[in-house]
Structure formats: structure tokens, C-alpha cells
């Protein structure tokens, strides 16, 4: 419900932003102040930020990339100390985000175009221990294959950290799955457990999200749910018609002043999109081959002028 309201609000705000009269490139930059772009901890966002920065530079803007934690950045954008972030996952943000949008301090520019996926993943060897996978129905019968001594006779599901909300617990409760949900603590802890379990070929079932670089490094399968029309309501689904999780949206956001201060930049950012395929390929370059994100981003901009040149007009 909250999510839907948010979506409507986002659409309304985007419409408003797009309605501002377009400016010709000749006026650029409208302000010599550097546009401060937030850089977060995960590679995908670093790449999105660098690509946006590269294009804005080509348009003639001064750009500054500022390293910012995913949480404090929202306060900073709200207060005008950072100007924008091209990749914000609206499911991992909280009141700071919704309040910022409600008060107009944070302006949503629309979706980035990434198609995120959230749900439960497991390594392929689990299909030998639990033949009914990937269907979620199989989990009822082979909960013990996923169990540990602590959770016995229930299975063990590693959920999101407690401060990301309780959606995984809601789903397990709603569909009566015999699993204990263990809060993941932090992304690092979840990945450490995943790496340890796969190395020792131990059973594991974990709540996870995509795009994420782990999919480039490890072979992981998704638990499949019943297809559904429209949004999946997590808290009220039933055992036989379970739909799993409502999927997130990846938004571009900017500060209150952005559109008036740099109209052409704002218009470009409203059109700015990236695909899962593009981002996954770049993430692989950075995380696996150890290349600097700036270099990979600049390469994308150099190779895809046909795409982004339509955004700057």
C-alpha cells in the first residue's frame, strides 16, 4: 500500500519535472557549481554514478563524485549538500526517503531501467537434496534438508538484516513454511555465509537481490513462485497461491533545487536509463577483472554515444 502511494507520488513528480521547458545545450552549464553525485558502497551504483558523471561532463558541467553511505546520503540530498543519485533502491530505503519525497526535498526523476529481482536463492547442488526445486512448494517437504541443529526440525532461511525490514518473515508466516528466518546482520555477513556454505557444499537458502555481482561469481538459482497479475501482496498470500515478493523499483533522485539550477542536466537525467545486461557486464569487469569503475564507465560512454546522445537533446 505504502509502495503504491510512493509510486503514484513518483509518477506525479516526474510528470512535473518533465513539464519544465527544455533548454538548449548552448546555455549549459547554467551554473558553474559542481553537481555533486552520491557514490554508494556497491559496484552497480558506482558505475551508474560514473556514467552519469561522464555524460554530464561531456555536456559541459562541473561534476563532483562524493562517497556517501546509502543512508546518510538521503539526508544530504534532502538538505541540498548532495545533488543527485542515479540509482536508489526504493525497497531498502526508509522513512528518511519517504519523508524527503513528501516534503519535496527529494525529487524522484523516474526509474533507472534496471529490473531488480528479490527472492530466495540457493546453489544448484541443493536440487539434488531437494528434488522439487525450484518450486517453492518443494520447500515444505524438504525443510530438513535446509536445517541445522539449531533450527531442527525446521529449515533455516537467512533473511535480510533486521534494519532492512521483516518482509521475509512476513512471507514465511503468511504461507506457513516450516522455516526459521535468521536475520542476516549485514550484506557482508550474508555474502560471507554464502561463500563459506558453497565452499563446503553445505545447505543454504538465502533472501537475495539482483542485479548483484555475486551472480557473476557464483552459480545461484531462484526459488520460483506462482505467476501473478499486478503487485504481489507479501503479507496476505496463501500457501497454494503464494506469489513471493513484491519487486523493487530502482529510482533516480535529485535534490529540490536541481531542476531549477541545472535544467538541462535534470532533463538528461530524466531520460537516463541502464539495463541489467549492461550493468552486469560492467560489474563483472570491475569486480572480477579488477578494473577501475571510472575506466569501465568511460568506456561505456565512449561506445554508446548513439544511446546517450538522444538523452542530451
Amino acid at each position: 500500500m505504502k509502495r503504491m502511494r510512493l509510486g503514484l507520488l513518483a509518477v506525479a513528480i516526474t510528470a512535473l519535472t518533465l513539464a519544465t521547458p527544455s533548454v538548449t545545450l548552448a546555455d549549459v552549464p547554467e551554473s558553474p557549481d559542481p553537481i555533486k553525485i552520491a557514490v554508494n558502497e556497491w559496484t552497480g551504483q558506482v558505475l551508474s554514478a560514473n556514467i552519469a558523471a561522464e555524460i554530464l561532463k561531456k555536456m559541459g558541467y562541473n561534476v563532483e563524485l562524493v562517497i556517501a553511505g546509502a543512508l546518510p546520503q538521503l539526508a544530504a540530498i534532502g538538505q541540498g549538500e548532495l545533488d543527485m543519485n542515479p540509482e536508489v533502491w526504493d525497497n531498502s530505503v526508509t522513512e528518511a526517503y519517504t519523508n524527503g519525497i513528501a516534503s519535496g526535498d527529494i525529487v524522484v526523476l523516474g526509474e533507472l531501467g534496471l529490473e531488480p529481482r528479490e527472492g530466495w536463492v540457493y546453489p544448484p547442488y541443493m536440487e539434488e537434496l531437494c528434488p522439487g526445486l525450484p518450486s517453492y512448494q518443494a520447500l515444505y517437504d524438504c525443510a530438513q534438508a535446509f536445517g541445522t541443529a539449531e533450527t531442527f526440525p525446521n529449515g533455516r532461511l537467512v533473511g535480510y538484516p533486521a534494519d532492512w525490514g521483516t518482509r521475509d518473515i512476513d512471507v514465511v508466516t503468511a504461507i506457513g513454511l516450516p522455516f526459521n528466518v535468521v536475520p542476516g546482520g549485514s550484506e557482508g555477513a550474508m555474502l560471507a555465509e554464502m561463500k563459506g556454505a558453497i565452499a563446503a557444499k553445505e545447505p543454504i537458502l538465502m533472501m537475495f537481490w539482483q542485479p548483484h555481482w555475486i551472480f557473476a561469481e557464483q552459480d545461484l538459482n531462484w526459488v520460483e513462485w506462482n505467476p501473478i497479475d499486478g503487485e504481489c501482496v507479501e503479507e496476505t498470500q496463501a500457501k497454494d497461491t503464494a506469489c513471493g515478493f513484491a519487486q523493487a523499483h530502482v529510482q533516480k533522485i535529485q535534490g529540490r533545487e536541481f531542476a531549477t539550477k541545472w535544467p538541462a542536466a535534470s532533463a538528461m537525467m530524466a531520460k537516463f536509463t541502464l539495463t541489467n545486461t549492461d550493468q552486469n557486464a560492467m560489474i563483472l569487469e570491475v569486480d572480477q577483472k579488477g578494473r577501475p569503475a571510472e575506466e569501465v564507465a568511460a568506456e561505456w560512454v565512449a561506445n554508446n554515444e548513439a544511446i546517450w546522445s538522444t538523452w542530451t537533446q
Binding site: 555477513a189 563459506g196 565452499a199
Partner: protein, 695 residues
């Protein structure tokens, strides 16, 4: 007469204990009928968190411009220092660091510093390290100035000191994460905010040491100053400060250490490309090798700065003012000349300017493969250990034997007979202890028997409160009883009770384990110089390396959950008991040992009957510190998925709700301060007992 009264009071004490334990047992049995006993009702809580939010909002609305101005001003020195450090060729900075190390600790320290710098260069982390150093270099002088000023004020005005002491205890025990949010709201965003968080965390040791240093100047020195006609100003700076200098410089040392421990937290707020950020971002990817490489840089930085500031603090002061300028400033001149020479050379040899990329190595690949191989090999054995600890200790303390024992865990279904056997075991043990004259042990056996049967979470809150308050009364009189009541009251009213119990359960186990392991290792280290030499660098690393780094291998082996959290806390809290026990035993007076040996004590008698009892006050201090470190680690252990007060702090942070996070922080501080009071009471008793034994 006195003896008779003592016996009488201990008898009635035992009666009160038994009555209270009976009450707690009764309440625990009744809680099924009366849920109000199990969970403290929400209606009886105060919305303290909301009040805090309102207060904070008011403060932000009214003072924001001032704080924003402050952070704008502080941005300049930070920018200058980090620009300077980035501009200086590495050879110049390295030469300066090694020379200063030589001045502080002669050749060994100079070599250690040189090797550490080489490590940083070889790992290709020089620029990141310089950015972190800039943060420390600006925050430390600020913290020192602030701490010295407040310390002087506290020295002259006891009322100020009475106000400062609890404030400082709170800033040091409330986890830094709990006040990140208000700092962000007031000061804004960016590296400067990390700097400010560092200053707030780092200044208290400076205040304490300044007050102690100024106070402990012998009165003869002051009198001789007065006699030679010093003005008040001269008397303060030339006489009192000079005489207390060593203590004040120790404050500088501890302030530096505290500022360093904030590096990681500063990078959570965001900011520059520094070493803290490196550790954080590699941790997020669970890259063990990479985070270890960067974590070691922080540990090395801490060790080098610790040794240098400590060396400078304890160095013999050269008070001779009659020498010429050059003689007095010989070190400064040498340093400057060497730096200029290095700069000149770096203009000719580019490799001295920027460390060539070809000279760097990256050991993270082999490290990652190594840890993976270890996980595969060690997992089966370690899993068995883990299950044993969980079913025998962790879960009973949490939910009680009556819920833990099942065919899945202990291999049998509990019957009434098993329960009866347990009761006989506990009561019998207590009775045996009582007949041996160990009344305290008997009470402890009964209390733990009761708690382990029901589990801390199923002990009712009135029952636990009654036991705690009476325990406070017995340990430290009315004062400690009031302290206990106030602490319990706050935790209940603020609605932190459930999480606080889980925190106490986790932390309590970790502290007991740390204390047993740590004091054992400390005894070994005191008895063997070689063991002590091996242990010292391990201790230093455990205490200075960001505790996050150890989490990765721990989780890879033991999975997310309480056992991993337990290990993380122990790995950090174990260092204090090791150090204090070794120090205590090594400092037993030689005469006592000689006398005991001449009386024919064997080595083990000497250790158990003489050294350990005499070292008891120090060993207790180690326990006290283990509790403090353990509580401070709760925030870190929440990253491993625990469900205690530490977790609430993150939830507050992620919701942007200052009130709930800060309340959880205060609840942690309250637990820490109360444990501190208990430790002090026991320490006083063990000292009194010592004085009784060796008048």
C-alpha cells in the same frame, strides 16, 4: 562481638537470598497465568524516544546554522592537511615518520615504523592511508585542545568535574553509532562530520588524564614555585603543567588511540577515499583477503602512533634551557634537513615521488583461497564444537534447559525425573558449598541453577529486578542497590527490557569466556617470557584492527548467528584480561616471592596461593575492562544478525529515528556503568581482603 554480628548478618542474608530466589521461582512459574510478569506492559512505558526526537528537532532547528558554520570552518584545516599529505612525496613523509619514531623509541621503533610504511607502500595503499592520517592529524589536536581545556576547568572547579565525569562516561559507553544521526543532522555531511565524531569520541581520556596529572603534582613543587615568586600564570603553566606533563601526555596517547578507532565509523558517514572506506567496501563484498590487507594498515597505524606518542610521553624531559638554539632544537633541524634532502632526491628519482605500481603486491588472492581451504577442512570439527557450546551454554542461558533439552539437541525427551535430578544436583551442590563455609558460592549455584533452568528471557522482570537490587545491596551497600534499581527502572520504562536481557545474555557469556581464556593466557604469559613475546603482537592486532575484519572468516565457518557473534565479542574482549592478569602477576613484590620460596613453596603453590591472590585487584580490573569492551562490541555483533540492543541502533539509523537508536545506546551505557559499579565494589572488597591478609 563483632564476629557474632557478622555471622548473624550473613545468616539473615542467606535467608533473604533464599526468599528472593523462591520469589523469582514462583514468579517464573506463575508467568503463564499472568503474562504481565513475562513482558513489561507497554502501557507502563514512557515514550522517551519520541521526547528525544522532539528535543533533537528543536535543537537542530535552533542551532543548525551555528554547527554548520563550525563544520564549514573545520573543513579548511582538514582540506589543507590532506592536500599537504597527498602532495608530499612518499619518501619525505616516510623519512619524517622514521626520524620521529627514532626520537621516541630509538632503533627498534624506527625499524618497526619503517617496515610498517613499507607494508603500506607495497600494498599500494599509500594514498588511502594518507587520507586517514589527515583525519587523525586534525581530529587529535582538536580533541587534545578541547580535552585539556575541559580538564583544566575541571581541575579548578570541582563542580565542573562532577558534571563532566558522568558526561564522559556516557560519551565513551554509548556506542558512536547511536549519536551519528544527531551529528549528521547538526553538522551536515562529508569528511568533516567524521572528524567531529572522532573528536567527540576521543577527548574524554584527555580530560581525565589532565585532571589526574594536575592534581597529583606534589605540594612541595607548588610551594617551591610559590617561594620563587611565580605569578599564578607561571605557577600553572611553568610549574603545575610541567610537573604533570607525563600524565597529560599519556592522555594524548589515549586520545590518539580513540581517534584511530573512529576511522571506520567516520567512513560510514561517507567522506574521503581513505583506508576505513577500503575496509568497509571490501567487507561489504565479504572479501576476506582484501579487508585483512587494509585492516592491517589500520592496526599498524595504531601501533606506530601508540608507540610514538607513548615514547614521547615517557621520555626523560630535557629541562636544560641554557643551551643554544641549535642545541635545543637539534631534532627539529635534523628532521627538516632530512625532509628537504628527501624532497630534493625525489625530484631526481621519480620512484621516490610516487611508489611505482610495479612494486606493489596483492596477497589477497592467496589469502582468500587459503581461508576457503581452511573452511572446507575445519568445518566438520568446528561445527561439533559450535553445537556443543550452543546447546550447553548459549541456549540454556537464553531460553532455559526446560525448553532446550529435546531429542534433537540432547538426544532424549525430558521427563519429570530429569527435572528432579537437576534440582537435586543444584540444591546438593549449594548445600555442599554451604557446609564448606562458602555461603556466596552456594547462593551463586542456586541462582544460576534457577536462571539456567528457565533462561534469562523467561525469568520474570520483577524477579530479576529483585535479585539484581539485593545483589547490589550485598556487593556495595545501599548506594549500589539504588544504582541497580535506577538502572533496572530506566531499562523497563524506556521499553528496552527485552533487548537488554538478550544483550546481557550474549555479552555475559562472551565476557565469562573472555575472562577464563584471557586470565589463563595472562598467567601463562606472566610465567613465560617467550609466550609473552608471542602473545603481545597478537594482542595489539586484535585490539587495534577493526573488529569487522575478523567477522568474515568467523561467519564463513560458523554461519550467521549467535555463536559467530559470541566469537566476535570474545576476540576483542579477551585482550584486557590477558594484559591485566600478566601485569598483575608480574608486579607482585619480589620480597613476597622470595619469602614464599624460602618457606618452601612449590611453583604451583607460589602461583595459586601467593601470586594470583596478590594480583586479584588487577585481574578484577581486567574483568571490568572485558565487560566494557564486550558491551562496546554489541554494535558490531549486530552485523552478524543478533537481536539485541546493538541491532536497535542500526534500525534507528536506517529509519532516521534518532530517539530509538539513542535510547538503545543509553541502555547499553547504563548496563556498562552498572557493571562498572559492581566491578569496583568487588575490587574494593578484594583489596580489603588483601590488606587483611598482608597487613
Amino acid at each position: 562481638m563483632a564476629e557474632g554480628r557478622g555471622a548473624g548478618s550473613s545468616l539473615s542474608g542467606a535467608v533473604v537470598w533464599l526468599a528472593l530466589l523462591g520469589l523469582a521461582l514462583g514468579l517464573a512459574l506463575l508467568q503463564v497465568r499472568f503474562p504481565v510478569l513475562h513482558a513489561y506492559p507497554a502501557d507502563w512505558q514512557l515514550p522517551l524516544g519520541d521526547w528525544l526526537n522532539v528535543l533533537m528537532q528543536w535543537l537542530v532547528d535552533h542551532t543548525k546554522p551555528f554547527f554548520r558554520f563550525l563544520s564549514w570552518v573545520m573543513g579548511f584545516p582538514l582540506q589543507w592537511v590532506s592536500d599537504l599529505l597527498a602532495w608530499l612525496p612518499w619518501s619525505v613523509s616516510a623519512v619524517a615518520a622514521v626520524l620521529i619514531a627514532y626520537q621516541a623509541g630509538k632503533r627498534p621503533l624506527a625499524i618497526f615504523t619503517g617496515v610498517s610504511l613499507l607494508y603500506v607502500l607495497a600494498m599500494g595503499l599509500w594514498p588511502d592511508t594518507m587520507n586517514s592520517l589527515a583525519l587523525v592529524a586534525v581530529s587529535v589536536p582538536l580533541a587534545i585542545a578541547l580535552g585539556f581545556g575541559l580538564g583544566v576547568a575541571g581541575f579548578f572547579r570541582p563542580r565542573v568535574e562532577r558534571f563532566l565525569t558522568p558526561m564522559m562516561d556516557v560519551t565513551q559507553t554509548v556506542p558512536a553509532f547511536a549519536y551519528l544521526l544527531p551529528i549528521l543532522m547538526l553538522f551536515g555531511f562529508g569528511p568533516v562530520v567524521g572528524l567531529i565524531a572522532g573528536v567527540i569520541f576521543a577527548f574524554p581520556p584527555m580530560v581525565k588524564n589532565t585532571i589526574v596529572g594536575l592534581r597529583e603534582v606534589p605540594s612541595e613543587i607548588i610551594e617551591s614555585g610559590l617561594m620563587s615568586g611565580a605569578t599564578p600564570w607561571q605557577l600553572f603553566f611553568r610549574v603545575r603543567c610541567a610537573a604533570g606533563l607525563r600524565q597529560i601526555l599519556l592522555g594524548v596517547n589515549q586520545t590518539t588511540m580513540a581517534a584511530l578507532s573512529m576511522i571506520i565509523i567516520a567512513s560510514i558517514i561517507g567522506g574521503s577515499e581513505d583506508i576505513g572506506w577500503k575496509v568497509l567496501s571490501t567487507l561489504r563484498k565479504a572479501e576476506f583477503g582484501e579487508s585483512l590487507v587494509a585492516g592491517i594498515v589500520i592496526a599498524l597505524m595504531a601501533m606506530v602512533l601508540d608507540r610514538i606518542t607513548y615514547g614521547l610521553a615517557t621520555r626523560e624531559q630535557d629541562m636544560d634551557h641554557d643551551k643554544g638554539f641549535l642545541a635545543r632544537h637539534r631534532f627539529g633541524v635534523t628532521l627538516l634537513a632530512a625532509m628537504i634532502a628527501a624532497y630534493g632526491l625525489s625530484l631526481v628519482v621519480p620512484a621516490l615521488q610516487v611508489w611505482p605500481e610495479g612494486w606493489t603486491v596483492d596477497p589477497s588472492g592467496p589469502l582468500n583461497r587459503g581461508i576457503e581451504a581452511f573452511v572446507i577442512a575445519a568445518k566438520p570439527v568446528l561445527d561439533a564444537t559450535k553445537n556443543f557450546v550452543i546447546f550447553a551454554f548459549v541456549l540454556p542461558l537464553k531460553i532455559g534447559f526446560y525448553k532446550v533439552v529435546s531429542p534433537f539437541t540432547w538426544g532424549f525427551t525430558p521427563t519429570l525425573w530429569h527435572a528432579a535430578f537437576y534440582v537435586v544436583l543444584v540444591v546438593g551442590g549449594a548445600f555442599y558449598a554451604r557446609t564448606r563455609g562458602r555461603g556466596g558460592l552456594a547462593i551463586a549455584t542456586l541462582s544460576f541453577g534457577l536462571i539456567l533452568f528457565f533462561g534469562l528471557t523467561n525469568m520474570t522482570w520483577p524477579g530479576l529486578a529483585a535479585l539484581l537490587i539485593y545483589f547490589g545491596y550485598r556487593s556495595g551497600g545501599m548506594r549500589l542497590a539504588l544504582w541497580s534499581a535506577a538502572a533496572m527502572g530506566f531499562i523497563l520504562i524506556s521499553g528496552s527490557y527485552d533487548k537488554a536481557v538478550l544483550s546481557v545474555q550474549l555479552c555475559g557469556l562472551a565476557v565469562v569466556a573472555s575472562f577464563i581464556i584471557g586470565s589463563g593466557l595472562g598467567v601463562l604469559a606472566a610465567e613465560s617470557d617467550r609466550f609473552s613475546r608471542i602473545l603481545r603482537p597478537i594482542n595489539d592486532t586484535l585490539q587495534t584492527m577493526p573488529p569487522f575484519v575478523l567477522l568474515i572468516p568467523i561467519i564463513m565457518i560458523f554461519k550467521i548467528g549467535e555463536f559467530s557473534a559470541l566469537l566476535a565479542i570474545i576476540s576483542y574482549a579477551v585482550v584486557a584480561p590477558i594484559r591485566y592478569t600478566e601485569y598483575g602477576i608480574r608486579n607482585v613484590p619480589k620480597e613476597v616471592i622470595e619469602a614464599s620460596t624460602s618457606l618452601g613453596c612449590t611453583r604451583s603453590q607460589l602461583l595459586w596461593r601467593v601470586k594470583i591472590p596478590l594480583a586479584m585487584p588487577n585481574i578484577m580490573l581486567g574483568l571490568n575492562q572485558a565487560i566494557m569492551f564486550g558491551i562496546s562490541m554489541l554494535v558490531i555483533s549486530a552485523l552478524v544478525g543478533t537481536d539485541d540492543l546493538g541491532q536497535i541502533i542500526y534500525i534507528g539509523l536506517s529509519k532516521g529515528n534518532f530517539g530509538i537508536g539513542f535510547l538503545a545506546g543509553i541502555a547499553m551505557a547504563v548496563i556498562a556503568l552498572l557493571s562498572d559499579q559492581f566491578c569496583r565494589a568487588w575490587q574494593k572488597r578484594s583489596e580489603a581482603r588483601l590488606e587483611g591478609a598482608y597487613p
